[in-house]
């Protein structure tokens, strides 16, 4: 697979995020073009996604909202390269994911995506540091380097002193921090967060959201799925799904006034 060069992300990061100067167009790193995903259930065909198009630019902070059955999960699975669209194109860092085979998809996930799950999904037999290392292991990054990077990100999320604990020895908030460090360690193009605070109490949830805000300010691109309008309001853009279609895309609470309006399809 030809993984196209993306330029130095941190270079752009300085000018990305909320502090981007007016008028400057950041590069599009993720684009959905008329994505459709249908399942066959018995004799009927269910159209979970029915023509979804939007663009995410580097440094964007998006929230995807919608009621259950609206196609949220399906869209997230497609954006996460865990699934392929039945029709349409999904461009992630310039490559059309719809055309890739299973191994290439795994490689894309490992290199360009960071996952944060509702239930943390840490591997219980591994320590904090080892959990953070997992994505690097599959990219064949040498153990020593992986260890250093994992340590660095553990410190970044505020877990520098707990790196040798097992997940079950940590609180829920701490576990989610481990998961965030794991999502960052491969320096992905996009961080995908699926109801990242769903299993946390509201205070801890706020902490985690604060951490995401911070990551966004540092220039990272975040797409999160949530059903909570208050949480969605922290994003720059809110994409509302309804019956497998985009209901509307509207600016969120963090929307930098007047930067741009995403094109509607």
């Amino acid at each position: 697979m030809a993984v196209s060069e993306l330029g130095d992300r941190t270079d752009n990061a300085a000018s990305a995020g909320g502090s981007a100067p007016h008028g400057e167009e950041r590069p599009v790193i993720l684009e959905a073009r008329d994505i459709r995903r249908s399942y066959r259930m018995g004799d009927t065909v269910v159209h979970a996604l029915d023509g979804v198009s939007f663009q995410v630019r580097q440094g964007d902070y998006w929230a995807i909202m919608g009621q259950s059955g609206s196609g949220k999960s399906t869209l997230l699975n497609l954006l996460g390269c865990l699934d392929r669209p039945t029709e349409g194109a999904y461009l992630l860092g310039g490559d059309d994911v719809a055309q890739l085979d299973d191994d290439d998809l795994a490689e894309i996930r490992g290199q360009r995506l960071g996952f944060i799950f509702q239930s943390f999904n840490l591997i219980l037999q591994l320590t904090v540091l080892e959990n953070i290392e997992v994505p690097l292991f599959y990219q064949g990054i040498p153990a020593r380097e992986a260890r250093e990077r994992a340590q660095r990100y553990a410190e970044l999320v505020g877990l520098g002193g707990r790196t040798h604990h097992r997940p079950l020895e940590l609180s829920g908030g701490q576990q989610q921090r481990v998961a965030i460090a794991r999502a960052l360690v491969n320096e992905p193009l996009v961080i995908l967060a699926d109801e990242a605070t769903g299993n946390l109490d509201s205070a801890t949830g706020r902490e985690i959201l604060g951490l995401l805000d911070q990551l966004h300010l540092q220039g990272r691109t975040i797409i999160m799925v949530t059903h909570d309008p208050n949480i969605a309001n922290r994003a720059e853009w809110v994409l509302r799904l309804k019956d497998g279609k985009i209901d509307r895309i509207e600016p969120g609470g963090k929307h930098p006034e007047g930067v741009r309006t995403p094109e509607r399809h």
Binding site: D83, D102, A106, G110, F115, F117, V134, Y138
Partner: protein
């Protein structure tokens, strides 16, 4: 690449250690399978080697005819006729010796032996030794080695000389401190000059398969024996006394080659059948006995292979069963790993390494046990055992193979899971 493999192995070992009891119980099947195969092979190999050594001792190109006292059954019918005033007459005769020598082709040597028990003494020391009358050819048909001096010669027989060659045990008992050569000993009341001594033939097993001590023997010329002691042997037992007349106790026929042995054996049997109406002669063919042992060994090995196959199959099924359960149990982990960039082959190797770890650990402990058991058997049951390292290697190799064969399906199943479904799994 190699370090990736090592890290996969380390990960697998840790997963196994996470459930120590489960892992241990799972490997038991393979452990016992390998242990029993290694142990049984060692015991079987030991037994057949012992038997082979005994038969080789008799000489593989030899055909041995032995006199046998007719059973009571034949004694009452045909045997009665042979009973005369001097007691029972049976067994091989000089005539048999001449006929075999004269009529059978493919024969290199024909040697007659007459053996009786006689009191043997030197000064105040004495021992009850087997006295064997034979000819100089005996050296060619038996595993006898001269230690000092010489064996019997043609002229000893022609002169009917009173000379003897003594076995190691006789030498030890009669001449513990002196050189026996040229000394005279008394055998059955006659005086014999010691002209040679023999090396010990016993070694670890002192008895040969007839149960007599191979080293407690005196060889004298057959002609001398005939002249001095005659053919009548008196035996006293529990208040009664019986006499027997036997000319020769054994005729050893040495074939020219191994290939000639079956024909020579058949010819000897035919000749003796014609000359002996009574059932008073038996023919022993060491080569046939060897072949029998080899055949038994082959059957033993086939049986072992079947047992090994079944036990390793059962062990393998056990391993597969546990691995399938493990895969289901860790569905979520598989989904997470896939989401974080694991390819199918990563998942396959992860689970395959675990299965291999289980089966080779079981195999290794099994090999250890399988080597230990023969030692215990040898010590307590007084049986010879031989641990063959190729068998050990094979058993261990098969245990590893079981790991691959029975690990592949669970691993493939883990890898073929849809990541989306796996992540949703509770």
């Amino acid at each position: 690449m190699f370090t990736t493999f090592l890290r996969t192995v380390a990960l697998g070992v840790r997963s196994l250690l996470l459930h120590k009891l489960r892992s241990f119980l799972t490997m038991l099947g393979i452990l016992f399978g390998v242990a029993s195969v290694v142990a049984m092979l060692a015991i079987g190999e030991g037994a057949s080697e012992e038997a082979q050594a005994k038969f080789l001792e008799l000489g593989s190109t030899n055909v041995i005819a032995r006199s046998r006292k007719p059973s009571a059954d034949s004694d009452s019918s045909a045997g009665m006729a042979a009973r005369n005033a001097r007691g029972v007459i049976y067994g091989l005769t000089f005539k048999d010796l001449d006929v075999i020598r004269g009529t059978i082709s493919g024969v290199e040597r024909v040697v007659g032996v007459r053996s009786v028990l006689k009191p043997t003494a030197h000064g105040s020391r004495n021992v009850e030794a087997r006295l064997s009358g034979t000819t100089e050819d005996f050296l060619d048909v038996a595993r006898v080695e001269i230690d000092r001096g010489r064996f019997l010669t043609t002229s000893d027989n022609l002169r009917r000389a009173n000379v003897t060659v003594i076995g190691e045990e006789v030498r030890r008992q009669l001449f513990p401190f002196e050189d026996p050569i040229a000394k005279h000993i008394a055998i059955g009341g006659e005086s014999f000059e010691v002209v040679g001594t023999m090396r010990s033939r016993g070694g670890a097993s002192e008895k040969n398969f007839e149960g007599s001590d191979e080293d407690k023997v005196c060889f004298i010329p057959l002609a001398t024996m005939e002249t001095r002691f005659g053919f009548i042997d008196m035996q006293r037992s529990a208040g009664s006394r019986s006499t027997e007349q036997v000319e020769l106790h054994e005729v050893r026929v040495r074939a020219l080659s191994l290939d000639a042995v079956p024909d020579v054996a058949q010819a000897v049997r035919d000749v003796l059948k014609r000359l002996h109406e009574k059932d008073d002669v038996e023919v022993i063919v060491p080569l046939e006995l060897l072949r029998t042992v080899e055949e038994q060994k082959r059957i033993w090995k086939a049986v072992l292979a079947a047992i090994a196959g079944i036990s390793l199959l059962v062990g393998g099924i056990g391993v597969m069963n546990v691995m399938l359960a493990t895969v289901t149990e860790r569905t979520r982990e598989i989904g997470v790993r896939r989401a974080l960039g694991a390819k199918k082959r990563h998942v396959i190797s992860q689970f395959l390494v675990e299965t291999l770890g289980l089966s080779t650990a079981g195999g290794a402990i099994g090999v250890f046990l399988g080597i230990a058991i023969p030692f215990v058997v040898e010590h307590y049951a007084d049986m010879k055992t031989v641990v063959r390292w190729d068998a050990v290697g094979l058993a261990f190799g098969i245990s590893a193979l079981v790991g691959v064969v029975f690990g592949l399906y669970p691993a493939m199943r883990a890898a073929s899971m849809d990541p989306v479904e796996a992540l949703r799994h509770e």
